[in-house]
């Protein structure tokens, strides 16, 4: 009796030591790995060119920004249930409202579209050059999917509703860029860059004007 218990104990200890060793050598997955969900991975698909556009945009200032946007709407199922039953049949812990809070990181790209420059914009006389450039504009506001962080997502949200919230983030970023007078900074920088460029091209007297 005693011998058989001893034998079982030895087998258990040897098995435990064996498992421990195999785990340490990474031959078997850990307990957490066995029950962890496989990561979501997309399939390789081709990238198709839809359109190619010629540009001449002088990017002078980029603002890196982070904004928080949220949206709330009433959950129609909960409201209907509470209205019909006088609040008796509804789950008191279920939220009455669907809520989403997103944190968006992106960039506001400002610069001058040199394609809008007219033929008469450049005037040269000996070692003097005078250039009139178009005024700076917001060329792009970029918030890519990798820039969004979902902080709270409660209830059911349609893709259209999510898109509307994301567009709100872009508008917020635009407003903040305007408040920070990014366009004025972009104009000043464009003048400075064009002056340096023309001076490096051999002109001693350089005048840069910004279109009104």
């Amino acid at each position: 009796m005693f011998r058989s218990i001893k034998a079982i104990l030895i087998i258990i200890v040897v098995a435990a030591a064996g498992l421990f060793l195999l785990r340490k050598l990474d031959f078997i997955p850990s307990w957490n790995q066995v029950f962890s969900a496989a990561p979501l991975e997309i399939d390789e698909t081709p990238v198709l060119i839809k359109e190619v556009r010629e540009l001449a945009s002088l990017i002078t200032v980029t603002g890196y920004d982070e904004v928080v946007v949220d949206s709330v709407h009433a959950d129609p199922n909960q409201i209907a249930l509470r209205t019909l039953t006088g609040g008796l049949a509804a789950n008191p812990f279920a939220p009455m409202f669907d809520r989403i809070v997103l944190v968006a990181k992106g960039q506001v790209i400002c610069g001058t579209d040199l394609k809008k420059m007219s033929d008469s914009a450049i005037r040269v006389f000996d070692d003097s050059a005078s250039v009139t450039i178009p005024k700076a504009e917001i060329l792009d506001i970029i918030i890519n999917p990798s820039g969004f962080e979902t902080f709270i997502e409660e209830g059911n949200w349609s893709d259209q509703a999510i898109t509307a919230v994301k567009i709100k983030a872009r508008q917020k970023m635009r407003d903040r860029a305007m408040q920070q007078q990014l366009l004025s900074k972009a104009n000043t920088r464009a003048i400075s860059l064009m002056t340096s460029m023309l001076q490096a091209s051999g002109f001693e007297k350089v005048t840069i004007n910004v279109e009104r």
């Binding site: 969900a37 359109e51 540009l55 200032v61 990798s146």
Partner: protein, 187 residues
């Protein structure tokens, strides 16, 4: 008694107090000196089948399509005075090779085409969709070389700068990107 009430409500206070941390909203401004010369509008299908977890019963599939805009051009900040040579009405520029300036996927250019979720599975959350789209973003970035974006950016930069320098009075314009040379004699 006071401690008993505290102990009773403590878990609720800890769990329900999902408060939004005040995110520091900072706008960082950076000076740039890039000339964007080309924009490629591309499309991509993003699809996955979440059936690799052994203990989850049923499939969960999603297929999304997105449109992205890739802008490329020249970084003028890498241009040094020694990269510009002037000899009378002849000018030579040695420009840095073209680079990708931006990749943009607008939310309105993303659409879910197909979603199939088994009865025992939860539908894809917004965070999961953004995670999948981020992977798509990376795949688009890695395909830039094969799309020829940078070559087109260099060609367009050469055309634009030649026209610009021609207006400034130069007759012979040589533009070089790294080792490649493009000569634009003005007739």
């Amino acid at each position: 008694m006071k401690y008993l009430i505290w102990l009773l409500f403590c878990p609720f206070l800890l769990c329900c107090g999902k408060k939004l941390d005040r995110v520091q909203e900072v706008l960082t401004i950076r000076n740039m000196n890039d000339l964007a010369t080309v924009e490629y509008v591309v499309t991509k299908i993003i699809k996955t089948n979440d059936n690799k977890t052994w203990y989850k019963i049923g499939d969960r599939k999603i297929l999304m399509s997105c449109q992205a805009s890739i802008k490329a051009g020249i970084d003028f900040s890498a241009l040094k005075p020694e990269n510009i040579t002037i000899n009378g009405d002849e000018i030579s520029l040695q420009l840095p090779p073209a680079k990708m300036i931006s990749l943009s996927i607008r939310p309105e250019d993303i659409s879910v085409q197909y979603e199939d979720v088994g009865v025992f599975r939860q539908s894809f959350s917004q965070a999961e969709k953004d995670l999948l789209l981020s992977q798509g973003e990376e795949q688009i970035k890695s395909s830039i070389a094969s799309l020829g974006v940078l070559n087109t950016a260099e060609t367009n930069a050469s055309v634009f700068l030649t026209q610009f320098l021609k207006k400034l009075g130069y007759k012979k314009i040589n533009i070089r990107f790294g080792d490649k040379a493009i000569t634009q004699p003005v007739g």
